[in-house]
Symmetry: D2
Subunit: 375 residues, 4 copies
């Protein structure tokens, strides 16, 4: 069973993950992993932190000569900003410096009471989206392996605020190149301009916006997940993983929120043989039937709330003095949708690989590759 | 750790579940459980099966004199329809009776290939929504316990096809009574009429419709779930559980799909003290911040596709003869949204209780109740 | 991942298990399962309960026409004694009938305080070795499947009290037949006589004895378990399972407690090629190296304490009145070693099959069989 | 749920662990952790590696100002020997340098075939007992926390080869000081001399010896583990953890292998009230009844095989050339029993704390401490 734990505070020394259960004999391309980390750091409207951090993953175990050994893999991303925070992180905060005003929408309030810390800083450091860097690195190892198995994951920004991009085929390489070259990862140039203006507006006002992301996976073999028990359903497993990303508040598999297809006869994906291959007339189900991958592209949409770090003062409370106050501001981005799209690609990669390793060979990558190619 | 396994085929002898990890000393009201089962069987547009089955749960262990003992609980629901299927279920199907034409949207195709069965019947029997009866029973035990802890779960149908009900306060008892008395579990009488007409239309045409469901949980203590690791986030855990329900294709926490609130400053739920109690100006976040319950009502919406058993012939294939054919019809409902609303209430109950038992006393219900009341 | 939950009280209506994760397309021999149940009920020195119960397993789901479908399997064993206890089990005990004197060595004391029950009966009913009947049934399904994969599990009684049987090759069929025909499952006739006399002596005195059991598994493919993470080690996994059996207090893999082999050079199992096959000069390691099966027979010894239900009065306490008293007597066997040997065979079967399904095909038994035979 | 993953090769850059699920607000004493690491490195008969490594744990997250925050803890131990191996570890081995002769008793053979590596080095690096350094660090964090909760874990060497130490009360501080000051962690001076001579003899001959270890835990609250399901039994959980340690081949709870107590009436631990406190006349059961801690000291014995790295040539095979050869020698200790005793103390600490956090408060250490003290 592929699994990982990750640790690390936003301004701590390093983010660390241990990824356990990888098959042996896969040649990892570390540049691929680092490229995913740098894709995550791009995007219009990101804050200043990104100028400080140029994330690089180091792999300290589980590899020899770039080849996986089956041993657990430790992945480290050092936080460059740590040098500026070292003093602070290594000592208990003086009472007068403790953060006691929770920001709505963040983990501040819940962390303060759940863990009985007296300083919201302890929560901020972990609930921060900085943690997604290491999750991206973990997922990127998996994404690299999936690619070698013929499974590819692509994403785009679907909407920012009220502006929605056209639906395009993500596996048309020309389309995808244009999306990847866009600062907001969309296809339409006019939509892009509107989105950027909206982001500029937010930056000026001290406000934030959310949006949505489309992810699509090509080449997934039929049979991942299972309908035989509720906790083995692939759609449930993917939803959990995506919903666990900071800021995501809704997940959609396929095309259910599109109001055009009211009836079963319109929505259901008819099938037929053509040239002896099973084909589908549509893919409204998003590649998953009864919780099992059906061989079509897996299609997901994730919906993200506006980043809860707004400069505009919000009504909040001082938990130490029990008074009503307005919020202080913690450095942040204006819109997290672009980086989130990259993170989700990699989160999905981990989950898909995990499910593959449940059904197929888990010890030797070469045998696994043979098995998948035989399908 | 509260956990369960369930088993049973749609036309098998019985559905069985084992629920493990309940605290001792809780007086279970079996009528409450059976009432949830009969709520699940109601709803406008249900098929004939419901006339055959009047589900009753029997509890064969884990209770003495109606009081939980801490021992695992076995829950049995006998399938009355079994008598008609007995011969069939106990013998291998003759080749000519095997089902080899998969219905789009069902588990038929994926089951056939994943498990290499030669008869789709084996998949139908398990992937069927009949399984939700036993999951409802499992959840109802939890729901009953939650109620005693001051935690209540309510639901309504939000939409069927294009028709949407008004947003109403589910914890206004007069409102909720009206919803529970509605055949389609909505508040607006005009919407109800439109929905029923749509269902009638589908029944005539041999088509089906989907819809959406709102669920709300009141009284959840702050601190369930955790932001410290991705797989402990309450929103992820709930999404997985709800998405695992047959037909659900999207899950929303709070109010993110509502397009009215574009900016962080509009969406975020400001807080303040009033009469020394912490209050919120809104609950767009749906009671979960950073993956942790924040003490507000938890608000979820589930989106369900049209039932994939349509009488209208769809294009499909004969997997034995590799030919293109049209689908056969398997008895089914026209719209599953009403029963799904009840199932989801109970699915959520299991997950919430599971999370409570991670944070608080898991051995003795009386101590647990004390702990929760002290909060 | 193969998994199960089981439930049921000693005098409740039925013992129930759900076994989830079996591959499809295996023809189960239910007689095989029931034969394991009756082997478990034999043995010199068993109590009267065994005359009441002639355990038969019913399988209510997961099979059609005796063939597994991949669906979860529910296994039911009705307790015939239930009819005599029905009244009692369905009602709360009157205060004066509550059991408040814990028997040393049983779960009585710990259950009373952990679950805050006021009646030790609730604990007795579950901590009883009656539960091993259903665990045997679960394991027997697995054992039957393993047999078809060429993996066989055999056991013998190694010692009862101070009397020890000779070490014999369990996979010599003539030897094994004699062991299975022995009332105390040993090979030596003189040892058998001594053991029976000891059991008779105990019965007379109202005392009990323990002993030890040898289990051996033949045909296990190299590669189950893993050294890469501590919780994946096959020896740890097997130890946990065996130690979880009522009365077992020590587990040994291979031959470490034998004092003859002091030095590494004596203990280690040298290897060589003979006729192009890898062979071992000895098997002191018991078929597991670094937590991984090495293709040799897996050899385990389990050590069982005397059954804690002794007729001889022991010093104990009245927990309600806080006084010192002597124990009451609950019907029981004198020596549990013989039935435990059968239970352990089946417990081991479950664990071995679980590990096989982690490494090989988990969906289709026919493919699994091919994969194993190719090794 | 407390959990951890660890990674790292024997000669890799660092051993890394992530420990997740610790309560917040515990003041960790890092010196305590490092002291456990240095206790692990002591012992008569250890190899040269120990002169190179002076293990120090660094904690990179989960702490601020030495206080736990509830965030996952990353623990790092750098391998000083890495500098000498860097070239080697970072590149694939040339064919002629690959190790293809498995050493009996090690993971060499199973790793080669399971992971299809072509170099046994990849297995050696992970299956090595070097990994126990990081597991000791993980456990030492837990042991430190347990101490603050009034729960203490002590151990001694019980035997080395044929020489057995007297049974002494480990919680008599004078006794324990003498044990800790002994090079072989025993009480008897004459036994110590014999053991050392045996170790010297082995060193001369190029052989190795095993032995056994006693561990005892004081202050464990009644109620850890549960009899209600087989996989929740504390004895099973502890056995799994201890058996997973390199070289351990048998685990005993209490005093079952002592042949003195044949009958139930001799073995069972009678109980009585004295000064209103519940007491036991003996503790043959080792503090666990029916898989649940009963408040008495938990007593475990672990049996360790001789270290499989012997200088004396053993018969083995060349897996590349399919020939019979003798083994090569890899640097190692002569007797691992002394360090293993320290590792087991810490392994047990993790498991006991894990079980405590299942039953009691898991979020806030201060509340947990209150709860435990109230018992």
């Amino acid at each position: 069973m592929l699994r990982f734990l990750d640790s690390g505070e936003s301004h701590g020394k390093a983010l660390v993950a241990i990824l356990e259960g990888l098959p042996a004999n896969f040649c990892l391309d570390l540049d691929f992993v680092n490229n995913e980390l740098s894709r995550r750091q791009c995007g219009y409207g990101r804050g200043n932190r990104m100028k400080i951090e140029k994330d690089k993953a180091e792999i300290w175990s589980g590899l020899r000569g770039n080849k996986t050994t089956g041993n657990p893999m430790s992945i480290i991303i050092f936080n460059k900003d740590y040098e500026n925070w070292k003093e602070f992180m290594e000592n208990e905060t003086k009472d007068e410096e403790k953060i006691v005003i929770p920001r709505p929408g963040h983990g501040d309030l819940v962390g303060y009471f759940k863990y009985n810390t007296t300083d919201i800083r302890d929560t901020i450091e972990r609930s921060s989206a900085r943690e997604t860097a290491i999750r991206t690195a973990v997922g990127a190892v998996c994404k690299n392996m999936l690619l070698e198995l013929g499974i590819e994951i692509r994403s785009k920004v679907n909407s920012i605020g009220p502006y929605k991009d056209s639906n395009m085929d993500l596996f048309d390489n020309r389309v995808y190149e244009r999306i990847n070259n866009s600062d907001v990862r969309v296809f339409d140039k006019t939509t892009e301009i509107k989105m950027k203006k909206l982001i500029d507006y937010c930056k000026d006002k001290g406000d934030t916006v959310g949006g949505s992301i489309k992810v699509e996976v090509k080449g997934v073999p039929l049979g991942l997940g299972s309908y035989v028990h509720y906790d083995r359903k692939l759609d449930g497993i993917l939803s959990m993983a995506i919903m666990s990303l900071q800021g995501i508040k809704a997940v959609e598999i396929g095309d259910i929120l599109n109001k055009d297809k009211v009836f079963g006869s319109e929505f259901l994906d008819e099938m037929y043989f053509e040239d002896k291959k099973l084909k589908r007339a549509s893919n409204n189900g998003g590649g998953i039937e009864a919780g099992v991958s059906n061989g079509e592209n897996i299609k997901l949409t994730a919906y993200m709330k506006p980043i809860p770090s707004v400069k505009l003062p919000l009504q909040s409370v001082n938990l130490k003095e029990n008074t009503n106050v307005t919020t202080r501001y913690e450095r942040s981005d204006v819109c997290g949708v672009v980086p989130a799209s990259i993170v989700i690609e990699n989160i999905v990669a981990f989950e898909i690989l995990k499910e593959i390793l449940k059904v197929y060979q888990q010890d030797d990558f070469n045998k696994l590759k043979c098995d998948i190619q035989k399908l």
